[in-house]
């Protein structure tokens, strides 16, 4: 049997409104029912909701009851504590779902600027217990859709909410649903894209691990809206915990009648299957993903036709990202108007970001659209550690760009980020400080996309390879005049002529760093200098007069380039030096200069 903790507000107003009498009545009623061993009563200080007092909170599930009278006590005990059914009549419901987060974690700085819609249950519920999800109004949106709404009405609601795809491209979700709904059935598919492949991005993984039912509920509603009976979650094989939680959640949902034939007693039937990826970044692209589910090589194909018309098994297919799906139940319950009141003119709701790099609070954050980059980096993210200077913020991973300081006031929305020269992307956000080299950064991303290029179209397969060669030689001090222009020409050509989004966006990290940090490229090429001291082939090492002759550098030098007597100043032979930087790290006296 479920154990409960009841919290009674013991503030002055509530006491005046007879909270103490309620407590006595509760204790008596609980004794009478013989459940005293599994119910504990706590008192709390003033909750600040005096107008609604007396307040009674029942946990787990955080049911907050207001204006409770002694007459309500038997019902609370019988219905909620014995039958496990929270009492809707007494529930204070004016707050929105997302607010629940703050009750658990408080309004700490890190959370203060956040707004948790899709992550609302993450960290709060037990993701492997469907009852936890149900207690937080889980599957209520589904019930509402099945009993009170037509498919058209659902599509209308999603359209009106202004929700746009969170997988990167930002296509209006409602429009996509409408297009798929219009196509002839009955065989249609609903897909959840959980292939999350950007290096450094883990939003979708955390969302599924923390609250798998939200995604499932969103997909069932999507199936109802477009007239599909079959959903597929395509998830990376590298996410075993997320897969396990999804399997458990799907089984529990089936047991509880949320999946399968005649869901919740309606005429609507729907089930979901998991399909595993096998480690190919390009499979995140929707047409490649569909090929992969069909059991083939995951190569993209030209669009149109779009999946909405001809997708999985050539049938109309609705494909959305994990985070997009997680927004759906909230939009249904709290309404399109409420949802579209959050964010900017063109981008509604919130966005989850995976903060990484040179930032104090690395982790997942969910902020309303319209939050500025500065707020994310310096408030939510806590700024740059070790007193270092901010240099740039990279969004959109290998498809995105680097934005320098002057863009920090940019608001997070699809259009503003694009105008600044980057993209929203799926939510990777890497903060770069003065110790990072922009040429090296661009090279890192291009190396990734080059490796992941599927090889189907020439511009991407060959073009990225040539760009990588040029970048590599620049970072090794072999850059030639004209290389920057060559990179720009190649990059723009690849963007225009590649088959899919991978090639169309692969040059972005290079082009945006050239645009915003051209002088660093020029220094590498003309002066053989890397100001961040990252491109080791360009570095020279010199021992300064402050050397005490301890010999630490000499010991670690792998090429025996350092000489000197004990207790005397040492010296580096530039001929033998291989620029590995070990001496610099070994010196405890700061007596080695690199530059």
């Amino acid at each position: 049997m479920e154990k409960y903790v009841i919290t009674l507000c013991d503030g002055t107003t509530c006491i005046q409104k007879k909270s103490r009498e309620i407590r006595t009545a509760l204790e008596a009623e609980i004794q009478k029912a013989g459940i005293a061993d599994r119910v504990a009563i706590h008192l709390s200080g003033c909750l600040g909701m005096c107008a609604k007092g007396p307040i009674v909170i029942v946990n787990p599930g955080y049911s907050m009851y207001g204006n409770v009278t002694i007459n309500d006590v038997p019902e609370i005990v019988q219905e909620h504590l014995i039958k496990g059914r929270p009492i809707a009549r007494l529930t204070i419901d004016e707050d929105h779902l997302y607010n629940r987060f703050f009750r658990v974690f408080g309004d700490a700085d890190f959370f203060g600027k956040q707004m948790r819609i899709t992550l609302r249950n993450c960290g709060i519920i037990d993701p492997e217990n469907i009852d936890d999800y149900l207690a937080l109004r889980g599957y209520e949106a589904l019930a509402k859709v099945l009993t009170d709404m037509t498919p058209q009405k659902v599509v209308e609601t999603v359209k009106k909410s202004g929700l746009r795809g969170r997988g990167g491209a930002g296509f209006p979700t409602g429009v996509k649903w409408e297009l798929t709904a219009k196509e002839p059935g009955p065989e249609k598919y609903v897909i959840c894209n959980a292939d999350e492949g950007d290096p450094g991005a883990f939003m979708d993984r955390s969302a599924i691990e923390g609250d798998p039912h939200t995604v499932i509920e969103g997909m069932i509603i999507g199936g109802f809206a477009i007239g599909s009976n079959k959903g597929i979650i395509y998830i990376r094989a590298e996410y075993p915990l997320a897969i396990k939680r999804l399997e458990k959640a799907l089984a529990d949902a089936r047991k509880n009648g949320m999946l399968g034939d005649k869901i919740l007693g309606s005429d609507f039937s729907f089930d979901i299957e998991i399909r595993l990826g096998a480690g190919a970044f390009v499979c995140g692209e929707e047409t490649a993903l569909i090929h992969s589910i069909e059991g083939a090589r995951g190569m993209p194909r030209p669009r149109p036709p779009f999946p909405a018309q001809s997708g999985l098994f050539n049938k109309p297919t609705l494909i959305n990202n994990v985070e997009t799906w997680a927004n759906i139940p909230v939009i249904i319950l709290d309404g399109a108007d409420w949802f579209s009141s959050i964010g900017t003119a063109t981008s509604k709701g919130t966005k989850v970001f995976a903060l990484a790099g040179k930032i104090k609070n690395t982790g997942l954050v969910e902020v309303p659209m319209g939050t500025t980059l500065r707020e994310i980096v310096f408030n939510v993210g806590g700024g740059i550690p070790n007193g270092k200077k901010f240099k740039a913020v990279q969004t959109g991973g290998p498809s995105g760009g680097c934005l320098p300081e002057k863009y920090l006031e940019t608001q997070i929305d699809y259009e503003s980020l694009a105008a600044a020269g980057s993209i929203m992307g799926s939510g990777g956000m890497i903060v770069i400080d003065e110790d990072s080299c922009m040429v090296n950064m661009a090279r890192f991303f291009l190396e990734f996309t080059q490796d992941e290029s599927c090889g189907r179209c020439t511009p991407c397969r060959e073009g990225t390879k040539r760009m990588l060669e040029i970048l590599t030689r620049i970072s090794e001090g072999q850059g030639q005049p004209g290389d920057i222009e060559k990179l720009e020409r190649l990059g723009n050509m690849i963007k225009k002529s590649s088959l899919c989004g991978l090639g169309q966006s692969a040059p972005n990290p290079v082009l945006s760093t050239i645009k915003n940090f051209r002088e660093e490229y020029e220094e590498h090429i003309h002066q053989h200098k890397c100001r961040a001291g990252v491109c080791t082939s360009l570095l020279t090492f010199e021992i300064l007069d402050s050397c005490v002759g301890c010999g630490a550098c000499k010991k670690v030098c792998p090429s025996e380039a350092i000489s000197g007597k004990r207790k005397e100043k040492h010296a580096i032979d530039p001929q033998k030096c291989i620029h590995c930087g070990q001496c610099f790290m070994a010196c405890k006296f700061g007596a080695i200069r690199k530059g």
């Binding site: 094989a237 590298e238 399909r275 595993l276 990826g277 096998a278 480690g279 190919a280 992969s292 589910i293 069909e294 059991g295 083939a296 090589r297 995951g298 190569m299 098994f313 599927c454 670690v556 792998p558 090429s559 291989i578 590995c580 930087g581 070990q582 790290m585 070994a586």
Partner: protein
């Protein structure tokens, strides 16, 4: 070569039967390949042939799919994957000698795995541990300041630990 146990091929066939008769039967190929790799640790030719027969898909097509995805190993991988760093610092400090010793000791070339399935030998770009060059990485652990004798000792240690289970 290691034996391909017939029971395991049987188990693979058994696994495939659950999809039989369902619509879009062939679409389960990747799930079947995952199963085969779970059974064998990689995708042996025999497994691909079994799949081809049971699913009525040409082996060539299966091969095409298997090679597309990074997750699938086409050759067996040893219990210990040894990567020899051939970065500049290690090279200067005798990485070649280390590599030669490993080749002689294990009787395999780079990219191969020992018949007892204990060791796979690979080359690596700079592992960033130049200060203790020359280095090798075994699975995720770095070993540095190596010479022929130390390498042989390491290999013997690994063999011993494997024998103990």
């Amino acid at each position: 070569m290691i034996d391909i146990q017939p029971e395991k091929l049987g188990e693979l066939r058994q696994f495939i039967t659950q999809f039989q008769g369902k619509p879009y039967f062939e679409s389960n190929l990747i799930a079947v390949l995952h199963k085969a790799q779970a059974l064998f640790g990689y995708l042996p030719r025999e497994a691909m042939d079994t799949i081809a027969e049971a699913m009525n898909i040409p082996t060539a097509h299966i091969w095409g799919v298997a090679t597309f995805y990074h997750y699938f190993n086409l050759k067996p991988i040893g219990k210990f994957v040894i990567s020899v760093c051939l970065g500049t610092a290690c090279y200067v400090k005798g990485a070649q000698e280390v590599l030669d010793t490993l080749r002689n000791e294990l009787h395999i070339k780079v990219g191969e795995t020992t018949p007892d399935m204990l060791f796979t030998l690979q080359e690596a770009r700079c592992l960033g541990a130049c200060g203790i060059a020359p280095v090798i990485m075994i699975n995720d652990k770095i070993y540095g300041e190596l010479n022929s004798k130390k390498v042989v000792d390491l290999i013997n240690q690994m063999r011993k630990s494997a024998a103990k289970g």
